[in-house]
């Protein structure tokens, strides 16, 4: 018989399980799961691991009782056991709350459970304590919290459900390193005595805390099920292939970089070149308030600059103002041409300064927001067609070349929104650099991406760098800062400073 919502029936030790599960998304050719069986014991801490798109999040939603009760997906199974009490933390910190204030959000859960008003505040304080949030006052706006704190708030509201089993769906994927660390600490504290089922592709923080890892192959079947040590020993190659952030994931990349570096040293030294971009006493403004300041900085061909710093320090503002999307004052020389200040300038003069898209390629954080066309091919060709640049033949020819080199073959007629995460990201970069701009600005392009996508993005950047382009990339990824970047700009409280000792190729640092 089918039975769901009844943990305990399949033996007292099973927390959640599926038997002979079949699932296929409407309109898709292949099965996500075909006759999959899996069971999770009470008290276990289980990690579901696998490449993007292998269905591990879907499986988590089935075990957690969301599919098919809340989200309808066609599936069949002999038996599905869902824990009677369960809680769920999702990936996106911005879409887990329905109320504007912390206390109201927590109250939402308590109201759902029919808890008396008198007990509410005490329970709220307890769970906030448990996740390491200690607001002085409960009535604070949710949006005043950092992304990491929001995730811990989501965990706190889950604790109010008093769940036997906690399901975590990549809860730290969209957090910066600090937020990630705090989130997992809160999880370990909260999970005491509970069953934990996790989907996550970053393993640094969690690998040694897990009892069991279940490794899925791209076709949704289980290829490994055992202790973390055993999985890491046995499936090293698969982990790399599947884009999982396992400990030691950077080793290959570092080796590659060393080879590249050796080659680079053979080629002519770059010092003595003129800078592509030079700033002096440069201030960017948002709504007439200065938000970013650069005393002096130059960007040379072949630079790979990582822009780091805490959230809200002004990293994105820096890129936006370089793109002339924010007003600025001070000296800004781009490819030998001075760009007139826009701060304090008259409306008429400001209008003349438009984004220098012909010299700077810009990649936004969310690829979808920069897509303008309805097919992949048009998307790439779009920028080429703009200022009467080339003939139609050449447009086609160039688009095809970029489609090939960014591995988007066969997807030419696909709608950009219908691509996978990694493909979207690749397309957004391809469309941004198709005009052969010498400077590329990227706003956290590897954010929330798996290791494979991250290395693919880095490869493109390094390739362009090798051809003499300059890369400026905002990133939280320590690995990029340490292994890929040649220079590091640190942004603190709206001021940009070059980190003196950074980068692989110190000898190549030029300028100030």
């Amino acid at each position: 018989m089918i039975n769901h919502g009844t943990a305990g029936k399949g033996g007292d030790t099973v927390a959640a399980s599926v038997t002979e599960l079949r699932l296929k998304f409407p309109g898709e050719g292949s099965f996500i799961f075909k006759d999959l069986s899996l069971s999770i014991q009470k008290g276990e801490r289980v990690l579901l691991l696998g490449p993007s798109g292998c269905g591990k999040s879907t499986l988590l939603q089935i075990l957690g009782g969301l599919i098919p009760h809340v989200i309808e997906v066609p599936l069949k199974a002999d038996e599905i056991i869902v824990p009677a009490s369960r809680g769920y933390v999702f990936q996106d910190p911005d879409t887990q709350f329905c109320m504007p204030y912390v206390d109201e959000e927590l109250a939402f859960v308590l109201e759902n459970r029919g808890i008396e008003r008198e007990h509410m505040v005490r329970q709220m304080r307890e769970v906030l304590d448990a996740v390491g949030l200690h607001p002085d006052e409960l009535h604070v706006p949710v949006d005043s919290l950092s992304q990491g704190m929001k995730q811990r708030l989501a965990l706190a509201s889950v604790l109010l459900l008093e769940p036997e089993v906690i399901f975590l769906d990549e809860p730290s994927a969209l957090l910066d390193p600090d937020g990630r660390k705090q989130m997992w600490e809160a999880v370990w504290h909260a999970a005491e005595g509970r069953t934990l089922v996790v989907v996550e592709h970053r393993l640094e923080e969690i690998a040694d805390r897990m009892d069991r890892i279940i490794l899925f192959s791209p076709d949704g079947s289980i290829i490994g099920d055992g202790s973390p040590e055993w999985i890491f020993r046995t499936f090293r190659r698969e982990l790399a292939q599947y884009g999982i952030w396992y400990p030691g994931v950077w080793e290959n990349f570092i080796r590659l970089m060393e080879i590249r570096q050796a080659e680079a040293e053979n080629s002519a030294s770059r010092s003595g070149l003129t800078p592509l971009l030079a700033l002096k006493k440069y201030t960017g403004f948002r709504a007439n308030r200065p938000v970013i300041y650069v005393e002096a900085a130059e960007v040379y061909p072949g630079d790979f600059i990582a822009v780091t710093g805490p959230n809200g320090a002004g990293k994105s503002s820096l890129l936006l103002s370089l793109m002339c999307l924010l007003r600025f004052s001070g000296q800004y020389v781009l490819c030998g041409e001075g760009i007139p200040e826009t701060a304090g300038a008259s409306r008429k003069r400001r209008k003349k300064v438009c984004p220098p898209s012909d010299r700077i390629g810009y990649v936004f954080q969310n690829p979808e927001f920069q897509f303008v066309a309805e097919t992949v091919q048009e998307e790439i060709g779009f920028s080429l067609k703009n200022p009467g640049m080339t003939s139609l033949n050449q447009v086609d020819e160039t688009s095809r070349r970029f489609i090939r080199s960014f591995h988007l073959e066969g997807l030419e007629q696909r709608h950009p929104y219908q691509l996978s995460m990694g493909q979207k990201r690749r397309l957004s970069i391809a469309a941004a650099v198709v005009c052969g701009q010498p400077i590329l600005l990227l706003d956290e392009p590897t954010f929330g991406q798996d290791a494979r996508n991250t290395f693919a993005i880095l490869d493109y950047c390094l390739e362009m760098q090798a051809k003499g382009a300059a890369i400026v990339m905002v990133t939280h990824e320590e690995g990029i800062v340490r292994h890929a970047a040649t220079r590091v700009w640190e942004v603190l409280d709206g001021v940009v400073n070059e980190r003196p000792d950074a980068g692989l190729h110190e000898e190549r640092r030029v300028g100030t």
Binding site: G64, L66, V70, I71, G87, Y88, F90, D92, D94, T95, Q96, F97, C98, M99, P100, D103, E104, A107, F108, V109, L110, E111, N112, R113, G114, I115, E116, R117, M120, V142, D143, A154, S157, V158, L161, L320, M323, L325, C354, P355, S357, Y362, F364, N366, E368, F369, Q370, F371, V372, F382, S383, N386, P387, Y417, A431
Partner: protein
Amino acid sequence: MIELLTPSRATILQRANPAFKLVLFIVLFLVTVQTRSIDFAINQAAVYTLLLFILGGFPVRKTLLIVLPFMLLFISSSSTMILFGKGDTLWWQWGLVRITEESFYRGIHLGFRSIAFAAEGLLFVSTTPSVKLFYALMQSFRLAPRYAYSFMASIRLLPMVWEEFLIRRQALQVRGARIRGKGLKGLAEHIRMYAVPLLSQSIRRAHRVAVAMEAKQFEGQGGRERTYFYPSRICWIDGIVLMLLVLASFAAYAAALHFPWLGITDVRYHA
């Protein structure tokens, strides 16, 4: 954007029970709708605008700014009727335009009534945050929690859409996206450029929030009695608000009776 209408000082209206206040304002609204007397309409417009200054909670200058469009409102809601309304006592005719005494007064009446509506509406909106309103509707008027919470959750998501609109604008500048095609096609293209990313992201977000809410046992189990975090009370403040508003509209009515401006009690056309 939404902050624009957040009052800067606390007034008694903000502390009233939102559900009770809503009933009061619906009554006021109905009174205004049923008003046929031109004097009463003028007085209501004046009284409620005055209340907006006193109880709206904005600084006087901001209130002035809010009230300024009332002029435009007056013109746009009265002009058609003045110029083209039915009437027998002809004052002036030019081509199709035909101003009669009846149409003129009817138009003026419409204009003032619109101002009264506007002032009532603003008075309510500026003193009642949406979340409190829906919460109260759920609690006091048995609005299904699904609806109330859907509204509250969506209102929380709205500012994110606005931020994304700004990002999209920048992205289109960077991509050099100019609108091709003219007229309706061009307009449709322009709208598509903005609508597709913003609406598709909104659909996904709303869907995810709904899933997260149901994962928190929202209407999950059924049968359990829902409790409420905010108590719903009627207290002396509501009494004062009630008296204030009744007094205001009664004063407007009494003044219209005893000190009429024009003395027209029914502006409708009677053949």
